[in-house]
């Protein structure tokens, strides 16, 4: 019997994570992500996992990386100010290739901003928040059901690509309640960590070995124990030992970027609605995509050929499909609750004669279907120029 459940977005993030095998959570309270910690503190001990409220977000980020390296799938959740504090540790997870999930339930910024209002202001921070060249995976669902589903994906991607994964939400998604059908055992795939018994006694485990494994997919991480590996945030060789050699540095930094870039198509998740014959393409993600969906339906009633492209992997950008769609339409609307952070990426993929209209909002209110429809109308009447 399919089981219907009613859940809050934050709750779905916590329960989905546990379903994915998360058994360690460290966090620090912050609106609008605190409910994730509260659910974790209640649910993790039931399944033999550990919850801890750390002294700050820096400690939380460090603790989940430590727990993950030790062999336990781990997660933290926060919002803008806390996400800023976590950036150094996210870079460490990138460098040490430690599977971890960082949930950021976005609220208005900059600084303390609008703690109780939604925003999509951390799109670029998710990509470039930590210093140095690196790649990242970031997912952003649009409903409570998707939060549950894709946080499991986030854990799987983290394991497979040995990378931190940023899981973006927003205040509205985090706090809204929706019902959905709980996926069955068969519908859920879980990527498990290698246990120490699985490596042979005589095998020397090199955490960053690349030769034997089809480059540039990293070899899976094994839990701490028999392997006795070393990890460091310094540039390191295949054994994880610090090395300042230019060739090693060059190879490592490029590999960290390439392992994600070369698999972008495989990693990319997106959704489309009425794009086949679309002349106007709306691009929106997260909560905004729901307004965009409504706008498409209304416009289609008026026989305007509008379609929606909704990236779910915000990073890496689903470039291949997006480029194809952009080459077929004459106009594009990018709607986001920031001042054009994703538009920047999208527009780098457009041909010159595409007409562009941006719908941006940073006042803590959601973008309405009407505001997107207004943009459609403006494009139709030729008010906007070329990009």
């Amino acid at each position: 019997m399919p089981k219907m459940v009613l859940m809050q977005g934050d709750e779905a993030a916590a329960l989905g994570a546990i379903r994915a095998g998360c058994r360690f959570y460290a966090g620090y309270p912050i609106t609008p992500a605190s409910e994730i910690a509260e659910v974790m503190s209640r649910e993790l001990p039931k399944v033999g996992g550990v919850f801890i409220q750390m002294e700050d977000e820096i400690a939380s980020a460090a603790a989940i990386i430590g727990a993950s390296l030790a062999g336990v799938k781990s997660m933290t959740a926060t919002s803008g100010p806390g996400f800023s504090l976590m950036q150094e540790a996210i870079g460490y997870a990138v460098m040490t290739e430690t599977p971890t999930v960082f949930v950021n339930v976005m609220r208005g910024g900059p600084s303390t901003g609008l703690p109780t209002k939604p925003s999509q202001g951390d799109i670029m921070q998710a990509r470039w928040g930590t210093h140095g060249d690196h790649a990242i995976i970031a997912l952003y669902p649009s409903s409570v059901q998707e939060i549950y589903k894709y946080i499991i994906t986030a854990f799987n991607l983290a394991e497979k690509y040995r990378t931190p994964v940023v899981f973006l939400m927003d205040e509205t998604l985090g706090h809204m309640r929706e019902n959905f059908i709980m996926p069955s055992e068969r519908e859920v795939f879980i990527y498990n960590r290698l246990r120490e018994e699985q490596i042979k006694e005589e095998e020397v485990f090199l955490p960053y070995e690349t030769e034997e494994y089809a480059e540039p997919t990293p070899q899976p991480l094994v839990e701490m124990g028999k392997a006795r590996f070393h990890v460091s945030g310094l540039i390191h060789d295949e054994a994880g030992f610090p090395m300042a050699n230019p060739d090693i540095a060059d190879r490592l930094v490029r590999r960290l970027v390439e392992k994600i870039r070369l698999h972008a198509d495989e990693i990319s998740i997106y959704d489309e609605y009425m794009t086949e014959d679309a002349e106007v393409l709306i691009i929106a993600y997260g909560i905004t995509a729901r307004s965009a969906m409504r706008a498409v339906k209304i416009a289609r009633n008026d026989r305007i050929k509008v379609g929606l492209f909704r990236p779910i992997t915000i990073w890496p950008v689903p470039r291949t499909r997006l480029k194809e769609l952009l080459s077929r339409v004459n106009s594009v609307i990018i709607a986001e609750m920031n001042l054009g952070q994703y538009a920047h990426e999208v527009l780098s993929l457009t041909k010159n004669d595409v007409r562009v209209k941006l719908v941006n909002k940073v006042n803590g209110e959601l973008i309405t279907p009407q505001e997107i429809l207004d943009a459609v109308t403006e494009l139709q009447s030729g008010i906007v120029g070329y990009y």
């Binding site: 400690a59 460090a62 603790a63 430590g66 030790a70």
Partner: protein
């Protein structure tokens, strides 16, 4: 003890170390290995976590599960390791800057939680790695690269800090008092709950050079002549203790550690 006997705990192919000849870090590392050897611990069940600094480079040379993490954050990383794998002996190593300045918050909270970690502070009273800037344990009036007119701040006493934050094992030795050091580190590792060993060490390259003791032996002489035992210190006045290093075991107390309490909590959550 014969050094040779301890080589099995080292990633010997990674030597020599990055440390200056005569640096106290080597003495602390040896004392740690001797303690591990005496305790007959399994290499596979030891995790050593360090921050960033000269002292924190120690982890790279040790053949255990080792993590060289971020400046100041070793205790937070180690907290994750310990809670994920409670069967591991988890040891934290770091400098005074690492553990008492940028990592000071994690230090006091780990003490408060009584989490089962052993924290070894390589306390050389200065920032070695970055070139001799003053640290939170640099004594007043001493010189550092950022204290060219003499230091005006009051230093932290790591032992008092640990005691007041709730650490359940606290001891101090200097690198001159090697045997004592081995004993304290051994007891600290055996201890259940948070244990802190404050090791006064020599950075002759910076602290020594700025303060008239450029040779390692001069600093060791200084530690020898200025150390007093806890027993002796208890008979001395404030003025007499001025500038002295009090060595000894300050606390050893059995209390449930964090993971013991969490196991009880898990039982409650599971309705057992």
């Amino acid at each position: 003890m014969k050094t040779k006997q301890l080589l099995k705990y080292l990633r010997i192919d990674r030597w020599p170390t990055v440390w200056c000849p005569g640096c106290g870090n080597g003495i602390i590392l040896k004392a740690f290995l001797e303690a591990v050897d005496q305790l007959k611990l399994k290499k596979d069940r030891i995790a050593v976590v360090s921050g960033i600094g000269c002292s924190s480079r120690a982890t790279g040379y040790l053949d255990f599960n080792t993590m060289h993490t971020l400046h100041g954050r070793a205790i937070a990383f180690a907290t994750g390791v310990k809670l994920a794998r409670p069967e591991f002996k988890v040891i934290v190593m770091g400098g005074d800057g690492d553990l008492a300045s940028i990592g000071g918050n994690h230090f006091i909270h780990a003490c408060r939680r009584n989490i089962d970690l052993t924290v070894i502070v390589f306390n050389n009273m200065i920032y070695g790695m970055t070139g001799g800037q003053y640290s939170p344990t640099t004594p007043e009036e001493e010189y550092a690269s950022t204290a060219p007119y003499g230091h005006i701040e009051k230093p932290f006493d790591i032992v008092k800090l640990a005691l007041s934050a709730g650490a359940t094992y606290v001891a101090r030795a200097t690198v001159y008092h090697y045997n004592l050091l081995v004993r304290y580190i051994k007891e600290a590792i055996e201890h259940k709950g948070v244990s802190v060993v404050d090791v006064i060490s020599n950075c002759h390259t910076y602290f020594g050079r700025y303060n008239g003791m450029p040779e390692p032996y001069q600093m060791l002489e200084y530690f020898k002549t200025n150390s007093v035992t806890l027993q002796k210190a208890q008979t001395m006045s404030e003025e007499e203790l001025e500038g002295k290093i009090v060595i000894g075991q300050f606390r050893k107390e059995e209390k449930p550690c964090y993971m013991d309490c969490y196991r009880e909590l898990q039982k409650k959550a599971q309705g057992r």
